[in-house]
C-alpha cells in the first residue's frame, strides 16, 4: 500500500492526512500529525475521499472536454485542441465586440490549490484585460476581509488555530464550530478543560452553546445591536484597557458617541436578551487575561456583515486582545482554500498578496513581470453582481472554475436567468454540476488527490499537498488548461509544475516571499506574512500592536443597527436561515459522491423547526413539508427540535431537492456584496399525503441526477473517439 501526504479538501482547518492507495485507487485516509490537526480528522477527513474514484452516487466525474454548439443541442465530447480553440475564439470575439469587462472568471476555493488561482487571475488580468475575477469568499467571509482590512489592516485570522486552546476566553459569535470545523471544536473543548470561559452568541442551541459558560440566544438579525451593546458595557463599566486604547487605536470619541445609545437595556429590546446577560458576557470577556473572538457565517452572511465584523474587531481593540499569542480575532474560513483564493488575488480589488489593483505602482510591477504593457486599474465585478449584470447585458461571458453558483448563490431563479442571458459560459470542474448544465463548454480538470499544490488554511498557514493517483480520462490540471487557453489567445503561458508557478508568485508578493516549497515539505506549515527566506512566518499578526493601517493604529468603528431586508408578513411569517451540516460540504458535488457521507444524510435534507412552531402548523418530526418564500418553493423534511429557536427555521444549502437557495433573497452588504443568506421570510406547510410526497422527492431526485448523468454519457456516445 502506498501513502501520499495531503491536506484535507474540506473545511479550512488544514488537517494533514495520508491518502492510502492500492492498485492506483484511493482506498483510505489516515491522520497525520499536522500543525493544525495534531493527529485528528473528522468524518469528512476520514471517509470523504472516494469521490475521487467516480462513485457516481450523485453525479459523474468529467472525463472529456464537452461542447454544446448551441443551447438547444446536447453536449458532445471533443478533443482538447478543439475545446481550447473554440474557447479562445469565442472569448476573443466577445472581448473584441463588447470589451474586456464583458467577461468574468472565478477562482476556486476548493481542491485545486493556490497555484491555479494565481494563474486564473493572471489570465483574467493579463490576457482578458479585466479585474472581473472573484471567488466564493464573496458569499462567505468577504465581509471579514473587507471589515478587518479597514479596522486592523489585514483580513485574515489574527492568530493561529493551535493558539485557540491556550486562550482564557473564547467568544463564539455566529459560528457553529462543531458542524463547520470539528477539529477546531476540539481546541475549544481543550481550552475549556484548561479553564477558559466560553461565551456563545447564536440563536440556536448549537453544540458549542451546550458547552458554554454563557449562551446568548439573540434574535436573528440583531448582531450589530449586540456588538454595540458589548462595546457600551466595556466603555461604561470601565472594563476597557484605557492605556491600550490611547496608544494603539483611533476613533474612540466617535465610536463612544454611537455605542452610547446601545445600553444593555436598549439592546435587550432588539436582541431579545436579558440586559444582565449582555453585561455578564463582557465582564467575562474583559476579565480574561487573554481572549479570542471567533466568528463564521452568522456574522458575515447579512446585509450588515462588514459593520459587524468591524464592531467585533473593536471589542478586541478595546480590551487589548491583539498583537500577542492566544488572543485575537478569528474569521474562521469555511472552505479548504478560501483563504488561499483571497491570498492569490482572485478578487476584483486585489492582486495576489493583497496588493491593490488601484495602486499604479503595483500595477506596473505586475505588468512588467507578466510582460504586458498595462493592467486594468478599475475594480472588477463581484460574483453576486453576475445575474444582474448578465440580465442587463453588461456581462456576456463567464468562465466558472470549480464552483457551483447554480447551487450556492442566493435566489437561484435569478442565477439561472443570468446564465441563460450570457452568450458564452465555460465551466471547468471535476464533476458534472448544476452550473455545468448551463455551460456551452465544459473543461474537465484533475481532482484533489490527482494533483499537487499549496493550500492556505484558515489561519494563513501555507501547506503543501501531493498527488496520490493518476487521473482517469482525458483531463488536465486546472492551471494547465488556463495556460493553454492563454496561449491560444495570443499570450504564451507555460508552466512545467506548480513549483514554477509558486516561485513566480513568491517573487511578486512580499508577504509570501519567504514561503518556499522546501519549508512546506512534509508536515511543514508556514503562516504568512513571511517576508524572508530565514523566517518561519507569523503565527500571530500585529506584533508590537502595530496595525497595518496608515499611522499603525487600529480603528474603532461602530454604526447603527439596521434590521434585515426581507419582511416577515402573515403570508411569510417565519425566518429562514441557511446553515451547514457536518457531513456535507459546499455544493455537495464531492461529499454527495462519498458513500459514507451520503449514507448519513441524503435528499431532500431537512428544515429544522421548533416543536411549538411545528405543532401550530400540524407538522410532525420527519414528515415532508413545503417551504416557500417570495422567490420559490421547495419540498424538504421537517426535523422538529428544541435546539431551533421559535420563529426561525434552518436549512442546509447543499441539497438539490430541498434547495434552500431557491428561497433566499438577493439582498447584499453594500461593501462586501455578500448576500443575506441568514434571513429570508418563509412559510412552512404540512403535506397531507406523505406517500405522494415521498414518491415526488424520489422522482424529482432521480430526474435531476439522470439529467446530469445523461449529459455526460450522451456526450461520450456522440464522439466515441474521445470517450
Amino acid at each position: 500500500m502506498e501513502k501520499h501526504m495531503a491536506v484535507c479538501p474540506y473545511c479550512g482547518t488544514g488537517c494533514k492526512l495520508n491518502l492510502l492507495v492500492e492498485g492506483g485507487k484511493v482506498v483510505g485516509a489516515e491522520p497525520l500529525n499536522g500543525v493544525t490537526n495534531e493527529g485528528e480528522l473528522c468524518l469528512k477527513g476520514y471517509f470523504g475521499y472516494d469521490f475521487i474514484n467516480d462513485t457516481k452516487l450523485l453525479t459523474p466525474r468529467l472525463r472529456n472536454p464537452m461542447l454544446r454548439r448551441s443551447r438547444d443541442a446536447a453536449f458532445e465530447a471533443v478533443s482538447w485542441d478543439e475545446a481550447i480553440q473554440y474557447a479562445a475564439k469565442k472569448l476573443g470575439e466577445i472581448k473584441a465586440k463588447y470589451g474586456p469587462d464583458s467577461i468574468m472568471t472565478t477562482g476556486s476555493s476548493r481542491g485545486t490549490g493556490n497555484e491555479t488561482n494565481y494563474v486564473m487571475q493572471k489570465f483574467t488580468r493579463a490576457v482578458l484585460g479585466t479585474n472581473n475575477v472573484d471567488n466564493c469568499a464573496r458569499v462567505c467571509h468577504g465581509p471579514s476581509v473587507a471589515g478587518l482590512q479597514v479596522t486592523l489592516g489585514n483580513g485574515a485570522m489574527s492568530n493561529s488555530i493551535p493558539e485557540i486552546e491556550h486562550t482564557k476566553c473564547v467568544l463564539v459569535f455566529g459560528y457553529n464550530v462543531a458542524d463547520s470545523h470539528p477539529v477546531i471544536a476540539k481546541r475549544i473543548i481543550k481550552a475549556k478543560e484548561r479553564g477558559a470561559k466560553i461565551i456563545v452568541c447564536d440563536p440556536r442551541k448549537i453544540e458549542t452553546a451546550r458547552l458554554a459558560d454563557l449562551w446568548l440566544p439573540l434574535n436573528n438579525g440583531s448582531n450589530m445591536a449586540l456588538v454595540n451593546a458589548f462595546a457600551n458595557v466595556l466603555i461604561n463599566e470601565g472594563l476597557y484597557n484605557k492605556e491600550y486604547v490611547a496608544s494603539h487605536t483611533e476613533g474612540f470619541d466617535e465610536y463612544k458617541k454611537i455605542v452610547d445609545k446601545y445600553t444593555p437595556e436598549y439592546a435587550a429590546a432588539i436582541t431579545g436578551l436579558p440586559a444582565d446577560d449582555i453585561r455578564e458576557a463582557m465582564r467575562i470577556y474583559a476579565a480574561a487575561p487573554s481572549a479570542t473572538i471567533l466568528w463564521g457565517m452568522g456574522v458575515t452572511q447579512w446585509s450588515q456583515g462588514v459593520d459587524v465584523v468591524k464592531g467585533l474587531s473593536g471589542l478586541a481593540l478595546l480590551t487589548g486582545n491583539l498583537g500577542r499569542p492566544n488572543v485575537g480575532v478569528g474569521p474562521v474560513r469555511g472552505q479548504n482554500n478560501v483563504q488561499g483564493s483571497c491570498d492569490m488575488g482572485v478578487l476584483p480589488t486585489e492582486f495576489p498578496g493583497y496588493q491593490k489593483v488601484t495602486d499604479p505602482e503595483i500595477r506596473e510591477k505586475f505588468a512588467k513581470a507578466w510582460g504586458v504593457d498595462s493592467l486594468p486599474g478599475e475594480i472588477g465585478y463581484r460574483l453576486t453582481d453576475v445575474p444582474h449584470l448578465a440580465e442587463t447585458g453588461k456581462l456576456k461571458a463567464m468562465y466558472v472554475m470549480g464552483e457551483d453558483p447554480a447551487q450556492t448563490e442566493p435566489d437561484l431563479t435569478q442565477v439561472r436567468k443570468g446564465f441563460e442571458a450570457m452568450e458564452f459560459v465555460i465551466v471547468q470542474d471535476i464533476f458534472m454540476t448544476k452550473t455545468a448544465m448551463f455551460a456551452d463548454l465544459i473543461l474537465p480538470a484533475t481532482s484533489w488527490g490527482e494533483h499537487e499544490g499549496v493550500f492556505s488554511a484558515a489561519d494563513r498557514s501555507f501547506q503543501r499537498f501531493t498527488k496520490a493517483v493518476d487521473a482517469k480520462g482525458d483531463v488536465k490540471h486546472d492551471w494547465e488548461i488556463i495556460s493553454l487557453l492563454a496561449t491560444a489567445m495570443g499570450y504564451p503561458m507555460h508552466y512545467n509544475n506548480t513549483k514554477e508557478i509558486w516561485d513566480e508568485l513568491r517573487e511578486l508578493c512580499p508577504i509570501f516571499y519567504g514561503v518556499t516549497y522546501e519549508k512546506m515539505e512534509g508536515l511543514g506549515a508556514v503562516p504568512w506574512p513571511c517576508r524572508d527566506l530565514d523566517s518561519a512566518g507569523s503565527k500571530y499578526l500585529y506584533e508590537g500592536n502595530v496595525f497595518q493601517r496608515p499611522g499603525g493604529k487600529g480603528l474603532l468603528f461602530a454604526t447603527e443597527w439596521r434590521p434585515p431586508q426581507d419582511q416577515l408578513t402573515e403570508e411569510f411569517p417565519l425566518i429562514l436561515c441557511t446553515v451547514r451540516e457536518v457531513g456535507h460540504y459546499s455544493c455537495r458535488s464531492m461529499t454527495g459522491n462519498c458513500a459514507a457521507l451520503q449514507t448519513l444524510a441524503d435528499e431532500p435534507g431537512y428544515v429544522t423547526i421548533n416543536p411549538k412552531d411545528a405543532k401550530a402548523l400540524g407538522i410532525r418530526d420527519q414528515e415532508l413539508v413545503w417551504v416557500s418564500s417570495r422567490r420559490g418553493k421547495v419540498i424538504t423534511r421537517a426535523s422538529v427540535t428544541d435546539r431551533t429557536n421559535k420563529g426561525a427555521v434552518y436549512m442546509t444549502y447543499q441539497w438539490w431537492i430541498g434547495a434552500c437557495n431557491e428561497l433566499t433573497i438577493h439582498a447584499v452588504d453594500p461593501i462586501a456584496k455578500t448576500p443575506e443568506y441568514k434571513y429570508a421570510a418563509v412559510r412552512v406547510e404540512a403535506i397531507a399525503d406523505q406517500i405522494w410526497a415521498e414518491n415526488y422527492v424520489q422522482q424529482e431526485y432521480a430526474k435531476l441526477k439522470g439529467g446530469l448523468s445523461n449529459a455526460v454519457t450522451g456526450a461520450a456516445k456522440k464522439a466515441p473517439a474521445y470517450a
Partner: protein, 181 residues
C-alpha cells in the same frame, strides 16, 4: 472486569464519525464504498436531544441482562467483554428487550451455504447486533475510539477505571475539606 467504551457528553460534538468507523470496522473489508443507507447499522449511536449530544453503546455489563435473557446461550463473556456466538442466535429478541441501554438489536443478514462450488441461499440468518469492542482489530482497539475527533470516547478497562475512581475520590476529599473549612 469487562472493558467498555464510554462517551463524554461534554466533549461530544454530535458528528457521527464514530458511527461510520463502527460500520466500516464490521464491513468485512468492503470499505467505504460498501456503505449505503439501507444497510447502515452501526453498533454505536449518536443521540442528540435538546441539551445532550453523546454516543451510546454496549456497557459490557458484568451481570449482563442480555446474557441472562438469552434462551440459547448465544451471548457469552469472552476476553473481558460480552460477545455473541452468532451461529447460536435465534433472533428471538429477548436480549433486545432486556438491555436497559437500548444498545442491543437483532438484525438479519442473508444466509448462504457453499456446496460443490456453488453458493446456496438459505434465506436469512438472525444476528444479535451489538458492540464487540472490535475484538477482531486486536491491539488496535475499538474503531470508534480511534477516530473520535474530540476524544470524547475512551476505552475503559480496569486500569482506566481505577484511575477515574482515584481522581473522583481525590475531588471528593477536596470538596469535603472545603465544606469543613
Amino acid at each position: 472486569m469487562n472493558k467498555f467504551v464510554t462517551a463524554n457528553p461534554s466533549k461530544c460534538i454530535g458528528c457521527r464519525t464514530c458511527e461510520i468507523a463502527c460500520a466500516l470496522a464490521h464491513s468485512e473489508g468492503a470499505g467505504v464504498e460498501g456503505l449505503a443507507p439501507g444497510s447502515f447499522k452501526p453498533r454505536i449511536r449518536m443521540v442528540k436531544t435538546a441539551d445532550v449530544s453523546t454516543a451510546v453503546m454496549c456497557h459490557h455489563c458484568e451481570d449482563a441482562p442480555c446474557v441472562n435473557a438469552c434462551p440459547n446461550n448465544a451471548i457469552v463473556y469472552r476476553q473481558h467483554s460480552v460477545q455473541v456466538e452468532q451461529e447460536r442466535c435465534l433472533g428471538c429478541k429477548n436480549c433486545v428487550l432486556a438491555c436497559p441501554f437500548g444498545v442491543m438489536d437483532v438484525v438479519t443478514v442473508p444466509a448462504v451455504r457453499q456446496f460443490a462450488g456453488m453458493t446456496l441461499s438459505l434465506g436469512v440468518k438472525a444476528q444479535a447486533h451489538k458492540c464487540d469492542l472490535c475484538i477482531e482489530r486486536g491491539d488496535a482497539g475499538p474503531a470508534c475510539v480511534s477516530v473520535c475527533p474530540t476524544s470524547a470516547l475512551t476505552l475503559m478497562d480496569r486500569e482506566a477505571m481505577d484511575e477515574t475512581l482515584r481522581r473522583r475520590r481525590e475531588r471528593a476529599a477536596l470538596e469535603a475539606a472545603e465544606v469543613a473549612a
